[in-house]
């Protein structure tokens, strides 16, 4: 926390996992300060000694809050939910909570890790785009099918519980449910203020 007691978010503007935490902070109205960690500049600022001491996984996001440092975006959001329950990000019904967590884990554990920069670097350069798109496509095929039975206005019923995202320009036409939920989320204020194009470390040419 800062001297003023505000939580500190270590974040990279275009990191999807950082964005997920920014959305949760915005939805819950938690004031925080951003410390930008540029994953590309200086060979990757996440590899600095200082940052490694903070998060040995050398990944963003990390959140300093209440005297502890938490990393892993879903662990951070669960902590915020337990300590700042209003407005809630998980439904009250345990079965619906299970659906939210299943969908979040599918995205955060089944899709994103495969398209992380550190993983893509291990794939031959000419194969990287295909690799990332394969990961997204196979995940989205599953997700579309799951959402058809869980979704209301948002992923699980009519309450906002998590956010969807896409990178690497995957065509969303085959995924009407994902696509329409995504559109409904992106207009919400919490998604707007936390958007990659509107962060303290967003380069001028990408700002909007």
């Amino acid at each position: 926390m800062t001297e003023s007691g505000k939580p500190i978010l270590y974040s990279y503007f275009r990191s999807s996992c950082s964005w997920r935490v920014r959305i949760a902070l915005a939805l819950k109205g938690i004031d925080y300060e951003t410390v930008p960690i540029n994953l590309i500049k200086d060979g990757g600022q996440q590899f600095s000694k200082d940052f490694q001491a903070l998060n040995p996984m050398k990944q963003v996001p990390a959140l300093k809050i209440d005297g502890i440092t938490i990393h892993q975006s879903l662990a951070i959001i669960e902590y915020l939910e337990e300590t700042r329950p209003t407005p809630r990000l998980l439904p009250q019904d345990p079965k619906k909570r299970a659906s939210v967590r299943m969908i979040s884990d599918l995205i955060a554990g089944g899709i994103q890790p495969l398209q992380n920069l550190s993983v893509l670097k291990q794939v031959r350069e000419e194969m990287q785009l295909t690799w990332a798109q394969n990961a997204i496509t196979s995940g989205f095929n599953a997700l579309e099918q799951i959402l058809q039975s869980t979704a209301g206005i948002y992923c699980v019923g009519d309450e906002v519980s998590l956010f969807l995202y896409y990178r690497f320009k995957v065509d969303l036409t085959p995924y009407p449910t994902i696509s329409s939920i995504n559109k409904r989320l992106l207009v919400l204020e919490a998604f707007q203020v936390s958007h990659p194009c509107r962060q303290p470390d967003t380069p001028t040419e990408l700002r909007a």
Copy 2:
């Protein structure tokens, strides 16, 4: 659930994520039936039409319980914890709960997805072992450092909260904390009965 009302676990004996759920079921004393899904036989039984209808991600584990089907091992365990709280698998203190979830997500989201069969298949065959070992090594380097500050007898303090595992014969010498927690867990009854070498679908030559 079966006609007798027992939950059904779709499981593969050597899948680490299936084992994680088997451990949780055993720790909580929940009686269940196993439906083995062989990830290799018949080109992978997870690709069958029937199983895909159950889990569009085509992965084990999946648990049919209380009239719903949950996949993603950590989502399953969180559901069990919320609906069958005794004995608890998460500490009471929110900060310690955050540590448990951070460590679980690091393993389930930061290490395991990179060494899944479906991912390894996309890597050139002669590189597969190195790829898997790289994923484990970089995850374990971080985990060892984190556990040094969170661990008591087990990962977070002195209560069992999750399980560690290793495959692909990674040398654990550089990871004394991981190694000793692992040893302490493996002797527990819940870890013994759920062990890959003791499942209904364990081939005779691997039984112990």
